[in-house]
Symmetry: D2
Subunit: 151 residues, 4 copies
């Protein structure tokens, strides 16, 4: 992973405060396990409330967690007062997300003044082992004059 220099040294406070205001993340029980310059990790314990009909994590929830992890990875590099918008993303669901904990690791692939490209890999922890279940590629836009618009 390329090392990135954040525009704002206090990015972590800004990123965590924004994440804390996302009702959906609280509601499903997701937490931000880690955030650094250009990367972010989100964890989601399993529950029936995030399941599809076979008792795995729902693919839409896998996408939501990946979208947030990559989005906040991008947001970590942005200047004070800027917001980040998820313009679009593409996700491959490579394996059923069957396990006790979902782990999404987002990272910036290429930062830009207006547009940033980010990626996320999603793993599911099952029997003490991480298994890859999804890969995402995302485009984000920096918004100036309107703060913290991830999601």
């Amino acid at each position: 992973m390329e090392p990135f220099t954040p525009a704002d040294r206090n990015f972590e406070h800004r990123v965590r405060a924004s994440f804390a205001r996302q009702g959906i993340m609280r509601h499903i029980g997701a937490r931000m396990a880690e955030v650094g310059p250009g990367h972010c990790e989100i964890h989601l314990p399993y529950g029936e409330h995030v399941s599809q009909q076979h008792g795995f994590f729902h693919g839409g929830i896998v996408a939501a967690i990946a979208d947030s992890a990559a989005g906040y990875a991008a947001f970590s590099l942005m200047p004070v007062g800027a917001g980040v918008l998820s313009v679009e993303f593409k996700i491959n669901l490579v394996k059923p997300a069957d396990g006790a904990l979902l782990i999404a690791r987002g990272r910036v692939f290429r930062p830009g003044r207006t547009l940033t490209v980010a990626q996320a890999e999603v793993f599911v922890m099952n029997g003490g082992q991480e298994r890859l279940c999804a890969l995402m590629q995302q485009t984000l836009m920096t918004i100036t004059g309107r703060a913290d618009v991830v999601g």
Copy 2:
């Protein structure tokens, strides 16, 4: 929209039963408003529990609803005993989903024996008007020998 002939005349029962088993859809309050051969509509009323930090529907939830609507549109055309897997999707979030009700309309673009391509448009109802907020393109796989694996 092209008219499609379902392989199973009782597809509606099968589709609705599968949807009813998705814990996440119940948990967030989504309901299947309509299902026909090759199309499906899912509604989600707004609540703080599906929000991002500005009080709009979270982009990940927009994606989850679009994924389900297009996935069940594809599932409606599949034979008894088959399951459907969301292989991958790509979504453009074109407008903030700011409103009281989210409406995802999925439709099959091209059915196939192994792979199906589907689309979804997502609208948000605001002041009695529908506004487009997202466009999705999705690849699905028919699974035989393992029933109803949407999501």
Copy 3:
């Protein structure tokens, strides 16, 4: 298709002049069959020089033609002096492109001040019949201060 109002009444001249400067389109024998406000159609006759190993049109060429058709559909709505950049696209190759003529129809799905979402459908003419072979969804950016940057 929604009717769009172009910002520049003379958009057709501007679009065709830009297309004419694309060396690759000349080199493979593609021509712009039609352009209107928010839509564009590009044709490519078959030849061994655009083939893959089974004698069909190469998937990469299908993508290149779709990218240009949707990109010029977007460019048709932009003001004088603006350029358009293809930020990203996603394409499903739904059928082998086996035929005498490739036809890409691009259209704007949602125009925006900075970002535009466009789509293209690609058909192959075989025995007098058009067959759908690809579906594309694309994000474009309007560039001001640098003209006609499609492709």
Copy 4:
């Protein structure tokens, strides 16, 4: 990069023979610089015949080269007698491809019995330096009973 074990020890001959039959690759002057188990590198020298209107490599050609590099990376792992089909891909064009040589590096992200997920990064060589210009994520299908259908 994960090390992969090819199903066919003579994969290189099979991959190169298939590439050699692609008319478009010959026509534009692309060559397969390297192929190994699960990875492949394709080079394309610049010429006016692969340009867009500003004298850079055309975005559609960047996509075509990326599609081939990732497709042949996937094909390298497949058994004798199998073919590979590019089901869909998504590409971000992160920088204008301005330079003398285009280099696409494809690699398998996750091989599967039916579906494989691959990625490609594309670089442009300019003044002796490689600059990243595109990132692609792709889904491929293994076809049995019909050999070498890449592209």
